[in-house]
Amino acid sequence: MAHELPYIAAIGEAISEEMERDESVLYFGQNIATHEEDPFLKQFGPDRVRVTPISETAEIGMAVGVSIAGFRPVVELYMAEFMLVAMDQVVNEANRFHYMSGGQVKVPLVMKAGYGFTAGWAGQHTGTIYGMFMGVPGLKVVVPSTAADAKGLMTTAIRDDNPVAYFHHYLLTLEHGEVPDGEYAVPFGRANVARKGGDVTIVGIGWTVPRALAAAEQLAADGVDAEVIDPRTLNPLDVDTILESVAKTGRLVVVDQSTRHGSAAAVIAAEAADAGFGSLKAPVKLVTALEATVPYSEPMEQYLMPDDPKIVNAVQQVLGNAPVAA
């Protein structure tokens, strides 16, 4: 059975269900539980639901310590950029402790971070920064694009014995979708084939998955049958599913809202070139944001972003139907 929920509520449902199931799950964050009627506070009490000061480094560091001691904290970070304040804890402590201790300790920590809020939030609250964390050993990176995955990946993140950076897209916040009732876990490292097709493979990430699906519908009207793949997690990355699709279609377009260099799109393109070159009939195309900070002005903001026409154009290029220089 399933019920309809907005993406953001599906995440909350997973946290709530896991807190109910497992007393070791804690919820920390700035601005959570600000009033007595807060549902988390009412259900789980102030020991397990804790408001923190605006001290990301101490907040995440404390969560690392409490997870080493056997608890499973979820840290609410609101904006992914706030994680950057605490980089030592995120990419140099949490992720390395299991390894450097020779496996003696585990760090089951979830850092829940919203990103990509290109709706007038300007340069410091809109970054699509998951790519920065992709090459960080010991850290898992999650990027749900649907309400069901938002729930299922949060459940898995909480149950995972490693630190997980869980990136939810702010432009998807109120997108509704069918969400399975009760316990629902989506495994990490397993891509979702969001649309089946045989002419071209389009890989989307987070918010660019619905963009890729919309582009695929436009392409279908022109007789192009696109396959759309949503990796769902970037670390681990399901390279096999992407390669299998490319082996079938021979063409790959990767769509990513982040800046191009050092992006997840660039990593996926490199993996395809490294292991799937023999099946490629055309160069891999990347559709990313421009190499710039997101501007405030609305038309400027849209100018910067990958969008459906840019995806359609890239697909036509790899099919040889459009000039390469756009």
């Binding site: 480094t57 560091g61 404390m62 310590g65 402590e93 450097m100 201790s101 020779g102 496996g103």
Partner: protein, 322 residues
């Protein structure tokens, strides 16, 4: 525990301090011989802090340490052979050779770990303290850091959170007057670390860290209070770093202490003089304790040398917890 020291705790403190001293001096030799191949920071001269603090902790109390961690680990009960094998990068090391000198962890003895970035360990101890409280226990978490860590934002953030949530954590600052290669005066106008935390309202005291009895006495008071739910405390121990910041440091930034001056400061020699004066130490005990420590360390070196290097497959096995 009062300041009363008989041949029980007094001798035990000396034994721990000699063990650390012998270990560190031997590590220095092995580093010069390239048997310990990486970056090591020795704690010679500060043994009184490690011994005075860790000797009073229970096995389920947790200690976090920093880059200068060997003494803290040994005082908390980590086996010498496990620490030595780790420094030699062997599979038999505490962390199977994957952590090394700056990242010692010994869960079995409540040594939850050393971290290599200055100040990065402080909030971790808060997490342990919170975990103990949430589990309904009376465990206390201790974190060692140097005076160099105090100027970082992470320190102030952690003091704020520890006091706000009344966490059972004791912050132990080893103030040796040098932050890496420069004196404290180059880092801050605030001379005493205990003054830095004054507005937060926690118990705080500065003691002579080369007087192990003083460290022990003050720490005992803080420990009892934290265990009873009295919240955090800060113990600043004024001490001395006998060796450089790291092994091989040319130390152009300071002059070595004169030998006579160090004789007066040395926490081990001072405490032995006190034991002899107070009559709880036999005249032949100092030489015997020193020799026993040296023998234990040699045995640890022997065991460590016999341990193989870790297998290549260990890397892939350990990146993620299963």
């Amino acid at each position: 525990m009062s300041g009363q020291l008989d041949d029980g705790p007094g001798v035990e403190l000396l034994r721990t301090m000699w063990r650390i001293r012998a270990f560190e001096e031997r590590v220095g030799q092995l580093a010069r011989a390239n048997e310990v191949h990486g970056l090591v920071h020795l704690s010679s001269g500060s043994e009184g802090v490690a011994a005075g603090v860790c000797g009073q902790l229970r096995a389920d109390d947790v200690v976090y340490s920093n880059h200068r961690a060997h003494g803290h680990a040994i005082a908390k009960g980590a086996p010498l052979a496990g620490v030595m094998a780790e420094l030699m990068g062997r599979d038999g090391g505490l962390c199977r050779g994957m952590g090394g000198s700056m990242h010692l962890v010994d869960v079995a003895h409540g040594f939850l770990g050393a971290t290599g970035v200055v100040g990065g360990n402080v909030p971790l101890a808060l997490g342990s303290a919170l975990a103990g409280r949430l589990a309904g226990g009376d465990q206390v978490a201790v974190v060692f850091f140097g005076d160099g860590a105090v100027q970082g934002g992470i320190f102030v953030e952690s003091v704020n959170l520890a006091t706000l949530w009344e966490l059972p954590v004791i912050l132990v600052c080893e103030n040796n007057g040098f932050a890496e290669f420069t004196p404290r005066s180059a880092h801050t106008n605030v001379e005493r670390v205990s003054d830095v935390v004054a507005p937060y309202g926690l118990e705080r005291e500065t003691v002579d860290g080369n007087d192990v009895g003083a460290v022990r006495e003050t720490f005992a008071r803080f420990l009892a209070a934290a265990r009873a739910g009295g919240g955090p405390a800060l113990l600043e121990c004024l001490t001395h770093r006998l060796r450089g910041h790291y092994e091989g440091d040319p130390q152009l930034y300071r002059e070595a202490l004169a030998a006579e001056e160090w004789q007066q400061l040395d926490p081990i020699l001072r405490f032995q003089r006190r034991g002899l004066e107070e009559g709880w130490l036999d005249a032949d005990a100092p030489a015997r304790l020193e020799q026993e420590a040296a023998d234990e360390v040699e045995e640890a070196v022997r065991v460590a040398r016999e341990s193989p290097f870790p297998p290549a497959g260990l890397t892939a096995e350990l990146v993620y917890a299963p």
